[in-house]
C-alpha cells in the first residue's frame, strides 16, 4: 500500500485516514454506492473520494483478499472473488431452517389442534393447504397419526419429536398457550380467542414416535 499523504490544509481527512472510512462506507452500503454520495455524506470533495478509492484498489491488488472492488452501475461495491463461487453456493444451501408464513400457520394449527384432519386445517386457514402439509411431512415436523373414524376416513395429523426439538420443547404440554400470549397485549380485544385454546393435548400422541 502506497500512503498518499496530502498536505492540503482544506481537507479534514487525508487519504490515509480516508481510505478505511471509504472502505467502511462501501462495505456497509446496501448496493453499489456512488462517489458523489460518499462525498456528500463526508462533506468533502469528490476528488478526495476518488483518491481513496484508488488507494483501496491498489491495496486489494497487492495482497490477496476475499473480495475486490467493483465499479458497477455508476457506483462501487465490494464483491467476493468469482473463484470462490462454488464454496459460497455450498454455504447458501446449508441455510438454517426457515418457514414461510403458510407453513408456519399450518404447523401452528397442527401443533395446537392435533389430532387434526386436512379439511379442518383448511377450514381454519381458508385456503388449500395440501402442498404446505406435504412439505411439513417431508421435513418430518408433522406426521400421519392414523385415520379418523368418520365417513371418508380422512387422515389425521400431529406433530413429531423433531417438531419438539426444533422449538426446544420437552413435550407437547409445554407449548405455550395463546391465552398467556394474548395477555401480553394491552387491552382485552384478544379475549375472544382465549376460550378456544389451548386444546387438550394428548400426551400419547407423540409417544410412539420415539
Amino acid at each position: 500500500m502506497i500512503p498518499l499523504i496530502r498536505t492540503l490544509e482544506m481537507t479534514l481527512l487525508d487519504t490515509l485516514e480516508l481510505t478505511p472510512l471509504i472502505e467502511a462506507l462501501i462495505f456497509a452500503a446496501d448496493g453499489p454506492i456512488k462517489a458523489e454520495r460518499m462525498a456528500g455524506a463526508l462533506e468533502i470533495d469528490q476528488n478526495e473520494i476518488m483518491l481513496a478509492i484508488e488507494a483501496l484498489r491498489e491495496d486489494y491488488a497487492e495482497q490477496p483478499r476475499g473480495f475486490f472492488l467493483q465499479e458497477v452501475a455508476g457506483g462501487y461495491q465490494l464483491r467476493t472473488r468469482p473463484e470462490y463461487a462454488d464454496y459460497l453456493r455450498k454455504l447458501g444451501h446449508s441455510r438454517p431452517f426457515k418457514f414461510s408464513r403458510p407453513a408456519l400457520e399450518t404447523l401452528a394449527i397442527i401443533a395446537y389442534r392435533q389430532p387434526v384432519t386436512r379439511a379442518e386445517i383448511e377450514y381454519l386457514r381458508g385456503v388449500d393447504s395440501g402442498s404446505v402439509l406435504k412439505t411439513l411431512l417431508e421435513k418430518r415436523l408433522v406426521r400421519i397419526l392414523g385415520k379418523k373414524d368418520v365417513p371418508g376416513k380422512p387422515m389425521i395429523y400431529g406433530t413429531t419429536r423433531e417438531f419438539l426439538e426444533l422449538f426446544g420443547l420437552p413435550d407437547l404440554s409445554s407449548l405455550p398457550t395463546l391465552k398467556e400470549f394474548s395477555e401480553l397485549l394491552p387491552g382485552d380485544e384478544n379475549e375472544v380467542y382465549t376460550e378456544r385454546l389451548p386444546l387438550l393435548v394428548n400426551d400419547d400422541i407423540i409417544e410412539d414416535d420415539n
Partner: protein, 265 residues
C-alpha cells in the same frame, strides 16, 4: 407549572422512585428511615395527582407497602422462633428488591453503552431476499413467538362468518391478474395489503392471492420485503410497456388454476 412533571416522566416505577428518594436524601439503603421515605413518597404521589397524572396502580400498591412496613415497625416486636433473623426487619424484602432492581437498572445502562449493531457498528447488508420466489423453504426464521402469532392470525381470520358457497362465475383469476397489472401501471410498486383492502370477501381474497401467485410464477411481478413482518411490496418484474407487447395475459395462463385450487370448498 409544577417542576414535578419532568421528573415523574423519568420514573420507571415505584422502585425507581424509591431509589431516587434514597439517593437524593442520602439515606442508608440498609437502614431506610421509613417515616421519612414514606412522607417523601406520598408527597410525590400527591404532586402527580395535582398535575392530573394518572397514578398507576403499582405506585399506589407501593404506598400501601410502605405504610404497612412503617406500622409494623411501630408494633412491639414479637419474637417468633420460626422466623429467620433477617425477616425480623419488616424492611428486609423491600431492601432486597431495591438492591436487585438497582443492579439491573445499572447493567441495562452498561448494555446500552456498548457499540450497537446499526447504531455505532454496521455489518454488510445482505441482498434482499425475494419473497415467494422460494415459497416452501421460506425466509422467516422461526420461534415459538412466530408460531403463536401465526395461530392468532388464523383464529382472527376465522372469526368472521364463513361463506361456504363460492360463486365461481363472479371471479376469474385472469380478470384479477389484469386488474392487478393495470393498477401497477405507472407505479413503481404497490403494497401487498392494498390489494386486499376495500372489504374484499374471503373468496375474492383467494382469487387475488391466486392471481398474485400466477403473476409470480410468470415472473411478471416480484415481492420484496425489507424487514421481518415488514410491508410486502409488489414490483413489476418487467417494464409494463414491454408487457403490453404481449397481446394478452390469458394465453400464458394455466387454465386449470382457478378450478384446482377451489376444489377444497
Amino acid at each position: 407549572m409544577s417542576n414535578f412533571d419532568i421528573q415523574l416522566e423519568n420514573f420507571e416505577g415505584p422502585l425507581d422512585l424509591l431509589l431516587h428518594l434514597i439517593k437524593k436524601h442520602e439515606m442508608d439503603i440498609y437502614d431506610i428511615p421509613m417515616t421519612a421515605i414514606t412522607e417523601q413518597y406520598l408527597a410525590i404521589l400527591d404532586a402527580m395527582k395535582t398535575i392530573n397524572l394518572d397514578v398507576a396502580g403499582e405506585f399506589l400498591l407501593m404506598a400501601a407497602t410502605l405504610l404497612h412496613i412503617k406500622s409494623k415497625q411501630l408494633l412491639p416486636k414479637i419474637v417468633e422462633e420460626d422466623q429467620e433473623e433477617e425477616e425480623d426487619d419488616p424492611r428486609a424484602e423491600l431492601v432486597r428488591r431495591l438492591l436487585e432492581y438497582q443492579k439491573y437498572k445499572e447493567v441495562s445502562q452498561t448494555l446500552d453503552s456498548r457499540p450497537q449493531l446499526n447504531r455505532e457498528i454496521f455489518a454488510r447488508v445482505a441482498p434482499e431476499p425475494e419473497v415467494l420466489e422460494d415459497t416452501e423453504s421460506g425466509f422467516v426464521a422461526v420461534g415459538l413467538f412466530d408460531l403463536l402469532e401465526a395461530l392468532q392470525e388464523v383464529f382472527k381470520e376465522s372469526q368472521e362468518p364463513h361463506a361456504h358457497e363460492v360463486n365461481l362465475e363472479q371471479l376469474s383469476v385472469t380478470d384479477r391478474i389484469n386488474a392487478i397489472l393495470s393498477s401497477l401501471q405507472g407505479k413503481e410498486s404497490i403494497a401487498f395489503v392494498d390489494l386486499f383492502s376495500g372489504g374484499l370477501k374471503r373468496n375474492e381474497m383467494i382469487v387475488t392471492f391466486l392471481a398474485l401467485l400466477e403473476l409470480v410464477k410468470l415472473r411478471m411481478v416480484r415481492f420484496m420485503q425489507n424487514t421481518h413482518h415488514g410491508t410486502i411490496w409488489l414490483f413489476p418484474a418487467v417494464a409494463l410497456d414491454e408487457m403490453d407487447a404481449q397481446d394478452s395475459v390469458d394465453d400464458t395462463l394455466d387454465p386449470n388454476v382457478g378450478d384446482d385450487t377451489f376444489g377444497y370448498s
